[in-house]
């Protein structure tokens, strides 16, 4: 069931090119401005890590909220919620799709740092693969949960970012430290990476557990 729901949602994303393209353009612009502005910063590892997680946060949370709001405005979400399917699966399909967006955006930002920060010694470190994966696990479900929950408020999708950013704060900070240490090949990356992974898994698990009431009201 989750496979067909995810497939349905991805097909909807492919058809709603205007919404997805606008959201991805916003993410790309933020990343590009950051890279151009900070490529010669003295602490290049920290600047590169900050841009990577800025892109991850905007890709997973801001763009996610916009996509879910657009799906509701178009009537697609109502149709799915009326169908006889488990509401947790409805949430999971959106969480996976948003996680995919966040993960790909993070991976693209990491790849761009190779061009803009060529002197960093950590480029090519296979452990960097963990960074987009953690971003996808933590930010995708959280973006879907807050995006769905905020639809039942009078302020709508605007609240989604206000709810999701504080909760994702520890994940973003720990992920930023892990990315910085891996790019600079300095010690201490294990603790940050472990914390970020644990926090992302806990956020995803909790979001899944409480997704039913949040999806009910959407």
């Amino acid at each position: 069931m989750i496979g067909s729901l995810l497939g349905h949602h991805l097909r909807w994303l492919a058809s709603a090119r205007d919404v997805v393209a606008t959201a991805l353009l916003a993410v790309a612009v933020v990343g590009l401005v950051g890279l151009l502005a900070l490529h010669d910063a003295p602490d290049s590892a920290r600047a590169a890590a900050a841009i990577v997680w800025l892109v991850a946060a905007i890709g997973g949370l801001l763009a996610g909220a916009r996509v879910i709001a657009a799906e509701r405005q178009g009537g697609g979400l109502r149709g799915v919620l009326l169908a006889p399917v488990d509401r947790r699966d409805v949430f999971l399909a959106r969480g996976l799709a948003l996680g995919l967006i966040a993960g790909l955006a993070t991976a693209a930002a990491l790849a761009a740092t190779v061009v803009f920060f060529p002197t960093l010694p950590g480029h090519g470190d296979p452990r960097l693969v963990a960074i987009p994966v953690i971003a996808a696990i933590g930010l995708g479900p959280l973006g879907a949960l807050t995006g769905l929950a905020s639809l039942s408020t009078s302020v709508g999708e605007l609240l989604a970012t206000g709810l999701a950013l504080p909760v994702s704060g520890p994940l973003i900070v720990a992920g930023l430290h892990a990315t910085e240490d891996l790019l600079a090949r300095s010690a201490g990356w294990e603790a940050s990476l472990t914390f970020a992974t644990g926090y992302a898994v806990m956020v995803a698990a909790l979001a899944y557990l409480v997704s039913e009431p949040a999806t009910e009201v959407a």
């Binding site: 504080p166 704060g169 909790l206 557990l209 009431p213």
Partner: protein
Amino acid sequence: MDRERWLAPILAAGAGLVGAAIAASPTPPECLPGTRVPGCWEYALGQRLLYVHVPLAWVAYLGFIGATIGAVLVLARDSEPAGRWMRAANETTTIFAASALAAGLAWSYEFPIYDPLADAKVQATIVLVAALVGLWTLAASANPAQRDRLVASLTPVAFLSVPASYYASRLVSPHPDFLRETELTLVTGLLLAAATVGFALLWLGITWLRQRTLRLEERPLW
């Protein structure tokens, strides 16, 4: 007996304990370097803030636990009183957590060699306050018929900021902790415990009053 009759004594006892702890605050045994006030640390205002900052932070953590218990009851039993309690606890805890931050920043003014913005615990506590403000905004803007379940679904997720704030000083960067660095005397320990009990009673009293106000606000007029 009407439970509301106990509120005034509870609030008075809480405020009294806090006031007594602050007024009678004894001094740590040694002078600490870097204080703005010349002479020993014992004359600095910051030392007395110990009896405000630490209890407020602890009560804020416990308050978030109270709100999360309310959220779990809402999700499990659809309990209306638990929903009001959860929303009231979120509001009171926001004020307590923000006050703990403010007291800590006031302390840091007395101790200029410490940079609060570089302290991971301060950063994590700012995140915690922002999460609480987010929940408060959600409760204020949600459809009243769906409000409790909506807030209850996000409170346990936002609760993750409590362990993040608590463990930030151990995992990322150290937080000033004179209770560990200096030997805690019996009197100081008792006064700190009294202040914590006092603030906890204040939290309980304010939360009780707030959930009662919410019940009156939500009662149908006819």
